[in-house]
């Protein structure tokens, strides 16, 4: 079964990669412009795939941690935190940095740093709260609270940016989710983060398996809950920051991809994590291709496409597996 899943995912991955390179508004028949188009599309493919892989695996981790198949990085407020961090950095760069000492720094390089800082800030608050009341429900509610707090602050940052039309537009694009503007620099800076995050999560796969039996049983089998919780949260933050830095806020990937794959590969994390990385990447690339071919005045933001596909698919899954969801995985 696992071999078949990998075959299907490999075929899908290769064909979506081809589609991602060949489909778009530019005409590849023009021999002068073709290499430029191809390079832009390759970067775009890389960014979309990396963001999807990061989000899907981040979803697996938080679902295991909270023993809830409906969890997702956004539940921790990490997505919102990373997004706010990115926006604050953009605003600070434009209003303070441009023309001064920071001018030699490209915003390309600053954005991922801002995202990590935002995600880490979100988690620092979360950990402080967790220390006060060591309870999963408190943790989840705090995550929701942080999400809306960061969203409000993000709105504030956008209105501060309104004085410059371009900046406000850039932020809105960032908030909606988009991979068009990703340059080679940002991709090169973010890819190591992705690799480290994926490897670290793979290292915690067996601990996540133990958590499927609940915290007490996991502890009785020798799992140090505090360390496991901390590591899961940290690496989820890194993966979320990767995704946000590359593609802005794109929702549902971390929810749908693991949920769809569990029925084929089972719930064991050592199998689920690599499969989710592949499938998540492919899913976001497909969404990106759809974003290019949808009829619209300008290109449809990626976050809109994942939302349009994700929400109904997720709702269907929820209704079909209501019983399973109510009782666990």
């Amino acid at each position: 079964m696992l071999a078949r899943v990998y075959c299907v995912l490999g075929l899908l991955g290769v064909s979506t990669a081809a589609a991602s390179l060949l489909i778009g508004s530019g005409d590849l028949a023009d021999s002068r412009l073709a290499p430029v188009f191809l390079e832009l599309r390759a970067l775009r493919f890389g960014a979309a795939f990396a963001a999807g892989a990061a989000l899907a695996v981040g979803g697996v981790v938080v679902q295991g941690l909270f023993r809830n198949p409906l969890a997702d990085p956004s539940i921790l407020g990490t997505t919102a935190g990373a997004n706010l961090g990115g926006r604050v950095v953009l605003l600070a760069y434009e209003s303070v940095g441009a023309g001064t000492w920071a001018a030699w720094l490209a915003p390309e390089l600053l954005l991922p740093v801002g995202c990590v800082l935002g995600a880490v800030a979100a988690l620092a608050i979360l950990l402080a709260v967790q220390r006060a009341g060591d309870d999963t429900i408190v943790l989840l509610l705090t995550g929701f609270l942080l999400s809306s707090l960061f969203a409000s602050l993000g709105g504030l940052v956008i209105s501060l940016a309104q004085e410059r039309f371009e900046l406000a537009r850039a932020m809105l694009t960032f908030a909606l989710g988009d991979v068009t503007g990703v340059g080679g620099q940002r991709l090169v800076l973010v890819l190591p983060m992705l690799l480290v995050g994926l490897l670290a999560v793979a290292g915690w796969a067996r601990s996540l398996d133990l958590l499927l039996s609940g915290e007490e049983e996991a502890a009785s089998l020798g799992l140090d809950l505090g360390t496991a919780r901390f590591a899961c949260i940290l690496w989820t933050a890194v993966l979320t920051a990767v995704a946000v830095a590359l593609a802005g806020s794109i929702g549902f990937v971390g929810l749908i991809v693991p949920h769809a794959l569990r029925r084929f590969v089972g719930a064991a994390h050592p199998r689920l994590i690599p499969v989710c990385a592949l499938a998540g990447g492919t899913f976001v690339v497909v969404c990106d291709v759809i974003a290019r071919v949808l009829p619209a005045q300008t290109e449809v933001p990626l976050g809109v496409v994942t939302g349009l596909i994700g929400a109904p698919v997720f709702l269907t899954m929820l209704l079909r597996t209501r019983r399973e969801v109510a009782h666990g995985f």
């Binding site: 398996d209 007490e216 089998l221 569990r262």
Partner: protein, 275 residues
């Protein structure tokens, strides 16, 4: 008395406080290797709490020695190598195969990328070999060999209970804490389970078993600890603990002396992998 080295579990003045309420206090117990200790008491007496405290999943005060070492000095991994815990109802509801669930028992013995290796050393291959042997042995003991590739979710309740026992057996721990292992099992499966527990005790496992049915304790346990409202009422040999007067006090029941109905497995009975 029992020789010092054969004492598996020894607790003195155990006290558990949950949300500012004392749910267990001044509990002393001792269990040697090869011995079965039954924990008895009415509902809410603190039997499960005691077991969870012994397993290290609930914080407790007092002195607790596991396999001759102070429990406070043991990490969770080291503790798991000595003492296995089977909850009354596992919270596991995931599409893992039986083999994968049983393999979780080896978690405390895994080789780590960084830091100390729990258990003894050995190369990766030696470790893997030892793990697969322990998993096979645990599956065999619990009659699960034919079910090893099946999903845990597809199993019957009784089979799931056996999987949980197998997971603990695979860990190699010699002290087993079992919370009502026969609850919701039919009489046949309950007898099979007690037969298995008897074998384990004969091999030198120390068993601490929470039991609901008093006659089970009389037949399968060496010693018993009777709890009521979080305190020890009496502990000692089963027949002493289950004396008429204590039962009157604790359960408010009369013990009726008569030749009751007794069940035992028929010799030709086969029941491997039944649903």
């Amino acid at each position: 008395m029992v020789a010092e080295s054969s004492i598996a579990l020894e607790a003195r003045g155990l006290r558990v406080v949950r949300s500012r309420r004392v749910v267990l206090q001044a509990v002393d117990l001792q269990c040697a290797y090869g011995e079965t200790l039954a924990i008895l008491g009415p509902n809410g007496a603190g039997k499960s709490t005691l077991l969870r405290a012994l397993a290290g999943v609930l914080p407790c005060e007092g002195s607790l020695r596991i396999a001759g070492r102070d429990a406070a000095e043991l990490s969770l991994s080291e503790r798991a190598l000595e003492l296995g815990y089977v909850a009354q109802n596992s919270a596991l509801r995931a599409a893992l195969s039986v083999e994968e669930v049983v393999a979780q028992g080896r978690f405390a013995q895994r080789r780590r990328l960084f830091g100390r290796v729990a258990g003894d050393g050995g190369t990766r291959a030696v470790h893997a070999e030892r793990a697969s042997q322990a998993i096979d042995a645990a599956l065999k003991r619990t009659d699960l060999v034919e079910l090893r590739r099946r999903s845990y979710l597809e199993l019957s309740f009784g089979e799931q209970r056996r999987v949980m026992l197998a997971r603990t057996l695979a860990s190699g721990a010699r002290i087993l804490c079992l919370d009502e292992p026969t609850a919701a099992l039919d009489v046949g499966h309950a007898l099979d389970l007690f037969a298995l527990l008897g074998e384990l005790a004969a091999e030198g496992y120390a068993l601490v078993v929470v039991l609901h049915a008093l006659d089970d304790a009389l037949r399968f346990a060496d010693r018993a600890l009777l709890l009521n409202r979080g305190r020890t009422v009496v502990s000692g040999a089963c027949s002493d603990v289950l004396a008429r007067s204590t039962l009157n006090d604790v359960y408010h029941v009369e013990l009726e002396e008569r030749a009751g109905v007794r069940f035992h497995r028929m010799a030709q009975s086969t029941h491997v992998g039944d649903a």
